[in-house]
Symmetry: C2
DNA sequence: TTAGTATTTTAGTAAATTATATAATACTTA
DNA sequence: TAAGTATTATATAATTTACTAAAATACTAA
């Protein structure tokens, strides 16, 4: 079905379209939210906010998914600077970064969870 | 590969597992973030925060996607109480609700977009 | 240097997401 | 009531996601 009668002016439409057609900031935000729409990653975030540092193996045990799956989640989170890691002997510990969006997610969404 | 040596105790693992295995709040949050991981829905949200009310046809023009696609996005957003609508003659206008998570998203993420 | 532990990478698959096109529905107004 | 406009619902195809299993890599410590 065609769009015959928009309720805002052609100019307004053109202006808004221009603003939004190429908007890297929105794309970036979208990717960022994409990371949080996954319950496993939300849980990892929650765990790391409590325990400060954990290894892949710990998280795998707690969440009940394979180490491989956890590693892949962490790798995605690492790519967006949500977590970092440091090695201590054989164990690689992951911990949350102080990425500004991280802080917002924690403060406004995670900390208010009633669990 | 098996997990032989977790770095936290069996009790700690069991406790955390119990907390997280069934956690409707996290599932809910996950669904909510899922709504914003889509750039089109982020843009719709942004548009509605500027224009206050818009019809499917307006949004379709601005975003350059079919009316059908917009309608489906709005329907998903409606289901989670992000938008409501009211009919005025033939036109159905959508507008943002004051859902508390809505306000947080707007205040902390949308308003700080530099576009 | 070799065996053992920890983790990542790769490959494959099932499920979810997002878009389009088309059909159906809802309402207005001539 | 019939024609026209606006919107939603349904079916489907393409893409993305998220998991597992197995192979590869990285490091430690005997």
């Amino acid at each position: 079905m065609e769009c015959i009668g928009p309720t805002i002016s052609k100019e307004e439409i053109k202006k808004l379209n221009k603003i939004l057609t190429f908007s890297p900031e929105i794309e970036e935000l979208s990717v960022f939210f994409g990371l949080w729409k996954n319950p496993a990653r939300l849980k990892i975030f929650y765990l790391l906010s409590i325990e400060k540092k954990l290894c892949v193996c710990d998280i795998s045990e707690v969440l009940g998914i394979t180490i491989s799956a956890v590693s892949q989640h962490l790798s995605k989170m690492k790519a967006y600077n949500i977590v970092k890691y440091k090695r201590e002997n054989q164990t690689i510990y992951y911990y949350l970064t102080d990425h500004p969006l991280n802080l917002k997610i924690k403060e406004h969404f995670i900390d208010s969870l009633n669990i």
